[in-house]
């Protein structure tokens, strides 16, 4: 009876203190160094992140041959760009799928939160939330509308559930009126959400 009401009134402060205590104890006991966790976090600020995926997408937009190679064999095509760590943790085996006039792709992991770390970094909250994981496979179009992405009825929706080794990402459609942009400018338009299929890259104003 009481367990229903037995909770900390400040859940965040309790978790913050507990994780700090755990890290401190693990350092003291030689399981971690005091620089270990920071080494992980720094990797996701400088090496693995959506900045890589955005550059890969921009390259694919500018070079249709590159896009073809990326769709056929993502690891080899990504390796051409010489970014470090591209077949590292949670990117050992990656595949890309492309949105087009007739197909919209959505990536999901209904069992957990599999995500292509090297090219996209760590999954945003929405991707890990049980509601997205439940509804994304049953009513992807309704879910996409909630993300502000209405998909016309004649377009096919493909949902990719990551349950084995492959980590998927989406090459969104190139936005209208972007012909004058270079690779870096194009990359700046590409969000992690667009590379998971819950956002589009919006058209630029007509010149």
């Amino acid at each position: 009876m009481t367990s229903l009401f037995d909770y900390d009134e400040n859940r965040e402060a309790a978790s913050a203190a507990k994780v700090r205590a755990l890290e401190a104890l693990l350092i003291k006991k030689g399981v971690l160094g005091s620089d270990s966790v920071d080494a992980v976090l720094s990797h996701f600020e400088t090496v693995a992140g959506p900045f890589n995926g955005a550059r890969i997408v921009a390259r694919a937009w500018l070079d249709s041959e590159y896009k073809r190679r990326l769709l056929e064999d993502a690891p080899t095509a990504i390796a051409e760009l010489n970014f470090p760590g591209m077949n590292g943790a949670e990117g050992e085996h990656m595949k890309a799928v492309a949105n087009s006039e007739s197909v919209h792709n959505l990536v999901i992991c209904t069992l957990c939160s599999c995500y292509p770390w090297p090219v996209l970094g760590l999954p945003p909250y929405w991707y890990k939330d049980p509601v997205f994981r439940s509804r994304g496979v049953r009513e992807p179009r309704a879910v996409l509308r909630e993300f502000g992405v209405p998909i016309s009825a004649d377009k096919e929706v493909k949902v990719w559930d990551s349950s084995a080794q492959i980590r998927w990402f989406v090459i969104p459609e190139r936005p209208a009126n972007s012909e004058h942009l270079n690779e870096a400018q194009l990359a700046a338009l590409v969000s992690p959400e667009a590379m998971m299929g819950v956002a589009l890259v919006p058209a630029l104003p007509a010149a």
Binding site: A16, L22, G33, D35, V37, R133, V137, D154, K158, Q165
Partner: protein, 255 residues
Amino acid sequence: MKLQHYLGGLENLGPVNLEKKVFVAEWEKRIFGIHTVMMAESTHLAYALPKYPIAQVPTTFKETWTWASLRTGAESMQPFEYFKYRYYEKWLMGISQFFVDRGYVAAEELVTWTEHYRANPGAPLPEQPNPVLKEQVVRYLHRGDSGLRAPVTPVRFVVGDTVYVADPEAADHTRLPGFLRNKKGTVTEVYPGAYEYFVSTGPDGLNGPQHVYGVSFDASDIWGADKSEPHTVIYADLFDAYLQPAHEIHAKDIS
């Protein structure tokens, strides 16, 4: 059934949460980091692809810790508890319990130290860098831990084959999304080589290297024509153990 295996398709959930932040509280970064360091110093990496010089890394951690460890923990939670907690709250619960269960940390000292940091949120961590471990963490993040192995069994399906998803006993852990059990699909890809999952899942069927197939499912074959959205295809990568040839199912129906 275990509810955590059947998230796909639950109804009556309300709108999706559109939060784009990776970490919604600062403390979440630390438990993510602790988990990732544990994976980077897991003893199994001595025999992984690639192989790592784990024996030379100065650490007192002598355990196998992989995604399977974390996922098995989440899947073993009482399901209503599972939905009460946020993603990294579950990690914090599971990982701290693991260190207590394995004797690395005493439950009482975790409580005492937690009280200390609760009363003194700015109190520093012990200063004890470990440059060799740090190097291993960076190496692991750059090179990963691939399940790719040489196949030990023949390929059972080719692209275009109709398959049915198996319905194995619910085990501690699975890589079979529950909503696909017993459903009819079509093989769209036969991945080269075979893949070994981190652990055996016992009666669930993962054990040793297995072929993995990309399988497509018409949404209406999963949810029913009147309960699914039109023009929608679900793809899943499924280990060999989770698939059955259509003709075997057909034969069973007749007998």
